[in-house]
């Protein structure tokens, strides 16, 4: 069994950014474990541009954004074991992994950084009725076929869900000669960014239908048609509104789920608000020395914020390694009914903290407040707030007390 100071599970944008920043903060003994053949994560198939505006001040494609981190990690001599699957992380930070080349491996880690990212919700997760023909894909799977394997997935396409990947795939498939009949969204608003509604759908005259969903999938070997129904205010299909669309492909862009099996094996507690692990201001889970950042913690809309979060994680982990522990975080962070996906769960009141959340529905002219007791620490007016856009609020340590819980409220 080999000891490693910091093991990073996942060589995507979060894992690489954490690894680079840890090395810059003086952690020499680092190992990145990556499941795919190369580091870079999902960005390798995200060939559209628009990445990097915040982190690098310029707009890059996904592969270019990833390559910057891959190159820097290589230059710093950070080892990355690819083609390696982590099977288990234990509460005392033993990491079991396997690869064809090295077989079973066991490491004893000073700190474990969880950076596994997220995965897509599937047809099963949203229980669409119907037959089980070929031609039903999640958006990311279709993206990988088209952008990595040169396999076109279909010609007449319906897209369910207006997540960013779904809209980007609507454009991508149109550029490759497919006919995208429409994007259907069960909620009364688009779930992806407004710019993607504009540049991926409107630019190509692809209709977006809100408050609609797929209520039947038909076809034996290959998908032949889907039935679309309008839904009511409670997202229930309205009988009599069914329209059948002939198509050979159904793409699902119906949400992302943090990939946390290893997190739970390690014994970390779940944050019910994010469905990811409950973390403190240092991105430490409830298991000492096990940290999490990026999409495994909560799903981001922009990779820039994944990188920045993973870099922020690299403040706490070296302190844990040096001091054997981090300050207690006795103060809870709570949101009101308009605040969703709030993280971190706990703070100390002695360190700077970045609070992240999403509004639960589209809002105009609202006010965000962060309070401790009767004291308003931060107040931000927002002309427009969308669930598609994560809100992040930085709070300096000197504004915080060490006795009162943090309350995050959005009011309209």
């Amino acid at each position: 069994m080999k000891h490693v100071d910091a093991i990073i599970v996942g060589g995507g944008p979060a894992g690489l950014a954490a690894a680079i920043e840890l090395r810059k903060k003086g952690v020499e003994d680092i190992l990145v474990l990556e499941r795919e053949k190369r580091p870079g994560g999902i960005l390798r198939q995200c060939i559209h541009d628009g990445f990097g505006l915040t982190r690098f001040g310029e707009t890059l494609s996904g592969p270019e954004y990833a390559a910057r981190f891959v190159r820097e990690a290589e230059e710093l001599g950070i080892p990355c074991l690819c083609d390696t699957t982590v099977l288990e992380v234990t509460p005392d930070r033993h990491v079991f992994a396997s690869s064809s080349e090295h077989g079973m491996m066991e490491f004893e880690a000073g700190a474990v950084i969880l950076a596994m990212g997220c995965r897509e919700r599937t047809r099963g997760a949203i229980s669409i009725p119907g037959t089980r023909p070929a031609g039903v894909y999640t958006a990311g799977v279709a993206q990988s076929y088209i952008n990595l394997k040169n396999k076109m997935v279909g010609r007449r396409v319906i897209i369910l869900g207006s997540g960013d990947i779904g809209m980007i795939m609507a454009r991508r498939m149109t550029l490759e000669g497919a006919e995208v009949l429409g994007v259907f969204e069960v909620q009364p608003y688009a779930s992806g960014l407004p710019r993607n509604v504009e540049q991926c759908l409107n630019d190509y005259n692809i209709p977006l239908s809100l408050s609609h969903t797929v209520t039947d999938i038909r076809g034996t070997d290959r998908l032949e048609s889907v039935v679309i129904s309008q839904v009511d205010d409670h997202m229930q299909p309205i009988p009599g509104t069914e329209v059948e669309y002939e198509c050979d492909t159904l793409i699902l862009s119906v949400g992302l789920i943090p990939e946390n099996e290893l997190t739970w094996m390690a014994g970390a507690e779940k944050d019910p608000g994010t469905s990811g692990p409950a973390v403190d201001e240092s991105y430490q889970t409830t298991v000492p020395g096990v940290f999490a950042a990026g999409n495994v913690l909560h799903v981001h809309d922009l990779v820039d914020f994944v990188s920045l979060e993973a870099e922020a994680l690299a403040d706490g982990a070296p302190r844990f390694l040096a001091e054997g522990g981090l300050p207690e975080c006795p103060l809870a962070v709570r949101g009101n009914e308009l605040v969703g996906g709030l993280t971190p769960a706990r703070v100390s009141g002695t360190s700077d903290v970045t609070v992240s959340f999403r509004v639960r529905r589209p809002l105009r002219d609202c006010t965000v407040e962060v309070r401790q007791g009767d004291t308003v620490i931060r107040r931000r007016r927002m002309a427009k707030a969308l669930p598609a856009e994560m809100v992040q609020i930085k709070i300096a340590a000197d504004k915080l007390n060490t006795t009162d819980d943090l309350e995050v409220t959005v009011t309209c």
Binding site: D49, E64, A67, L175
Partner: protein, 120 residues
């Protein structure tokens, strides 16, 4: 005449309102930076877009390398450029920054590779 735009210059996606009189811009509101004003001005005159796609690679570890344009092109030329990209096959290896097609269709921009694909 009032025209409304969703700015695509950054993820913020500002709602921008433009007051036009005989095709001349009288006022621009709703943008939170200068890029927004430049975007709607261009959008009214001649909408421009960048596109990303992929290009065939012969003998590479992957069958495709991703590409994008070095700058924007008129929106109504997107499918013409896609047709040009589809005609080309590059021999492996290819590297980020390689010019796959110089000055594509005389539009003044290059098709550039955005991913390293080594020889298999």
């Amino acid at each position: 005449m009032l025209r409304e735009f969703t700015c695509i210059m950054c993820p913020q996606g500002c709602d921008i309102k433009v007051e036009l009189e005989d095709g001349v811009i009288k006022s621009v509101t709703g943008n939170t930076c200068l890029k927004g004003e430049a975007y709607v001005t261009q959008e009214i005159q001649n909408p421009m877009r960048n596109i990303a796609s992929s290009i065939l690679v012969d003998g590479g570890e992957l069958p495709l390398a991703s590409v994008r344009l070095s700058g924007v092109i008129p929106k109504d030329r997107i499918f013409d450029v896609m047709a040009e990209i589809r005609k080309v096959e590059l021999p492996a290896p290819v590297h980020e920054g390689d010019v796959a097609i110089a000055d594509v269709l005389g539009l003044g921009v290059d098709v550039i590779v955005t991913k390293d694909v080594e020889a298999a």
